[in-house]
């Protein structure tokens, strides 16, 4: 289970780097919006839309607002991919 979360987070790193325009950005399961410069509500929207596009998924408004950190984001993605 941990292995899957980690590989999902690996996939997310390149998307984060594109959206926040920072090639050196690092993220972990505990990363929250407070940890990254410029991660405001609009950037969050951009991030979720980019993830939707890259992974072929769709998130609902309540799913997005329920996420506390990158780890929970990865878990949600895994759940959706399992149900696909």
């Amino acid at each position: 289970m941990d292995l899957n979360i980690n590989s999902t987070i690996e996939e997310l790193i390149s998307i984060f780097r594109e959206v926040f325009d920072d090639e050196d950005l690092v993220i972990s399961a505990n990363t929250t919006a407070k940890d990254i410069d410029g991660w405001d509500s609009l950037a969050n929207l951009r991030l979720m839309i980019s993830i939707e596009k890259a992974l072929g998924l769709r998130f609902s408004a309540s799913e997005i607002s329920s996420l506390e950190n990158v780890g929970e984001m990865a878990q949600l993605i895994l759940k959706k991919q399992a149900n696909a």
Partner: protein, 629 residues
């Protein structure tokens, strides 16, 4: 096939070193070249950041202006606009525009339009994009009640009209109005559109009326058409609207930006005017040199033949709207012409093609020859070729030419070509219909000139007739069109709207001329526009532009003759002319010198030239003068 509009699939894929090239970009041209690739929103945002870095570093914008035209646009909307603006700036680079965006406060349309306080105050805006969607209008569905429905449409129109007129009066900016994308959900199913007073019915009526309501001075960006093209159910995204008031699915922002920028570019005269066609596997299936007349696929009854017939039919329709057609093919000339001459199912014939280049030289050289023969800049050209290698070669050699990427299936060539929007129009006049044949006549003249021994006898043989007249209502649309589209032979590149032109018709402070030229080979129509401000001592030449088709015919001297006569009669003693250099009008840098003006100053590149009227010596120009009243 993934959606041609969503992916802007006519744009070539970015090269593997795109990120590197972006990092090391140092000029406006660099950015412009990078924006021509089909890159996503993140890259377009990076491009816009790079442009903004340049703009903040360069206190003197002259190096940027030489390759990029600065345009500032305000955006006013009932929906969130923040997630559109970086993409718009990145996209504008594709059209050679350095865009600055000023956003109005979110969902404050009435306040921004009507109150003295406005986010637009203090900004010199060239244009304002008014993006009100159906949720921002006072739409009131009254299903089955035709009278109330009609009144509601009128109320909405009045609202839109007062918003745009108030903005126009306050800022003087060009208004670009988005039309209304209807909602997806038709509650009564197939009956919805027929039932007066439903939301669908109201939106449809509204769009129809908008076309007639707005003055020619307001441009409409057909977002309703775009949404229909991609599919309303794809366009509308309720999740995004609920979360952040995003008016449509974010993946359509790049094509939305391209649609808006096309109109900005068209206003700057950057719409393309010439379509150069490859032959084998583009205008017909197969290779004429190998397959012969019996073997090429063109006509009805075969899927491939019909696909190519559609390409020919589209080329003809474009020609009817003023796009000049040319051919560039790797073939023996006689072989290439065979289908045009003899194949019964061809729609295109030789007399539709202004310049026919069929030889074994490389296509880039041929295209340069076509541009020269037509006196059109390379930026006016579009090149259609099924062969990816040829496309790449032409793009590399001639980056100014638009070369759309094409899918493998020829049935989709037309869709891709037209989706690219190269020929975006903001006006249409009778002369557009005739323009292609003007260019053909001109190409014939170029051939005669090549075989003439000297210029004078050539010009005399044309038996030219020049007609000079002040601006009037009949010429107004064409005058405004010339003013908005002329880039090369244009001394000051001032853009005036039809309303401005109308005001000049009625003003006694201005000398205005619309100039037409006819000769034995044909009527060129209106080919030059001149505007002079009448001062008591000096007449100032505000606008002097001419179609490049009539270069070398001494029309300039004839025009000067007329200006001088009238200026002297009015008691002036000199003429003042300004030359404002741009990246496209270097052709006129010696215009005033050749006419005998003297340069009196040069300020930041802008030159002032003067002509002493007492020293005028008229030269005998080989044409008959006519004055219409």
């Amino acid at each position: 096939m993934s959606n041609v509009f969503e992916n802007l699939s006519w744009l070539p894929n970015p090269p593997p070193d795109f990120a590197q090239r972006l990092a090391t970009a140092s000029t406006g041209s660099d950015l412009r070249e990078l924006a021509k690739y089909g890159v996503d929103e993140n890259q377009l945002r990076r491009l816009s950041k790079k442009l903004q870095d340049f703009q903040s570093q360069h206190t003197d914008l002259a190096p940027l202006v030489a390759t990029l035209m600065p345009v500032s646009i305000g955006i006013i909307s009932n929906a969130t606009t923040k997630l559109k603006t970086p993409t718009m700036v990145g996209t504008a680079l594709r059209f050679g525009i350095a865009l600055t965006v000023v956003e109005a406060e979110y969902n404050q349309i009435a306040q921004e339009a009507f109150s003295a306080d406005s986010s637009f105050n203090g900004h010199q805006l060239s244009a304002i994009l008014v993006a009100i969607d159906y949720r921002g209008l006072p739409l009131l569905p009254t299903p089955g009640d035709l009278v109330s429905a009609g009144k509601n449409v009128k109320d909405c129109l009045d609202y839109i009209h007062s918003v745009i007129e108030s903005l126009r009066t306050k800022t003087g900016a060009q208004i670009i109005l988005q039309n209304i994308v209807p909602p997806v959900e038709g509650l009564s199913g197939s009956y919805e559109g027929r039932l007066p007073g439903t939301l669908s019915w109201l939106c449809a009526r509204l769009n129809f009326e908008l076309d007639t309501l707005v003055a020619d001075d307001t441009f409409i960006v057909d977002i309703a058409g775009l949404a229909a093209n991609v599919g309303l159910a794809n366009w509308h995204d309720p999740t995004l609207w609920n979360m952040a008031k995003l008016p449509f699915a974010q993946r359509y922002v790049p094509i939305y930006a391209d649609y808006v920028c096309r109109i900005l570019a068209a206003r700057l005269g950057k719409s393309r005017r010439c379509l150069i066609l490859d032959l084998d596997n583009t205008l017909w299936g197969g290779v004429i040199g190998d397959d012969g007349l019996e073997g090429i696929l063109i006509g009805n009854g075969d899927a491939t033949a019909e696909a190519h017939l559609h390409v020919q039919r589209t080329a003809l329709e474009l020609r009817d709207r003023g796009v000049v057609l040319a051919v560039s093919s790797k073939n023996e000339d006689a072989t290439a012409r065979l289908p045009f001459k003899q194949h019964p199912d061809m729609l295109l014939r030789e007399n539709h093609i202004a310049v026919f280049q069929a030889n074994w030289s490389d296509k880039a050289s041929n295209i340069k020859a076509i541009a020269q023969t037509l006196s059109l800049g390379l930026e006016s050209m579009v090149f259609l070729d099924d062969n990816p290698a040829e496309r790449m070669q032409v793009r590399k050699e001639l980056p100014e030419i638009a070369v759309p990427e094409l899918p493998k299936d020829p049935a989709l060539y037309v869709r891709t070509l037209i989706a690219a929007g190269y020929f975006e129009a903001i006006t249409f006049s009778e002369e557009d219909r005739k323009r292609a044949s003007f260019y053909q006549d001109n190409a014939k003249r170029a051939q005669i000139l090549n075989s003439s021994s000297d210029m004078d006898s050539y010009l005399k043989s044309l038996e030219m007739e020049i007609t000079l007249a002040p601006f009037d209502a009949t010429g107004r649309a064409r005058i405004a069109q010339l003013i908005s589209k002329s880039n090369q032979f244009n001394l000051t590149t001032k853009r005036y709207s039809e309303l401005d032109v109308k005001a000049l018709e009625e003003s006694s402070n201005y000398y205005t001329r619309q100039i037409r030229l006819k000769d034995t080979l044909g009527d060129n129509g209106m080919i030059s526009v001149i505007i002079c401000r009448k001062g008591s001592i000096a007449w100032e030449i505000d606008t002097w532009l001419m179609s490049c088709r009539v270069l070398g015919r001494r029309v300039e001297e004839a025009a000067l003759f007329d200006i001088v006569n009238h200026a002297k009669e009015a008691g002036a003693i000199k003429l003042t002319g300004i030359y404002s250099p741009t990246d496209r009008n270097v052709i006129v840098k010696d215009h005033y010198r050749k006419l005998g003006f003297i340069k009196t100053s040069s300020d930041g590149g802008i030159e002032t030239w003067e002509f002493d009227l007492t020293k005028y010596e008229s030269s005998k120009v080989p044409m008959k003068f006519k004055y219409a009243l």
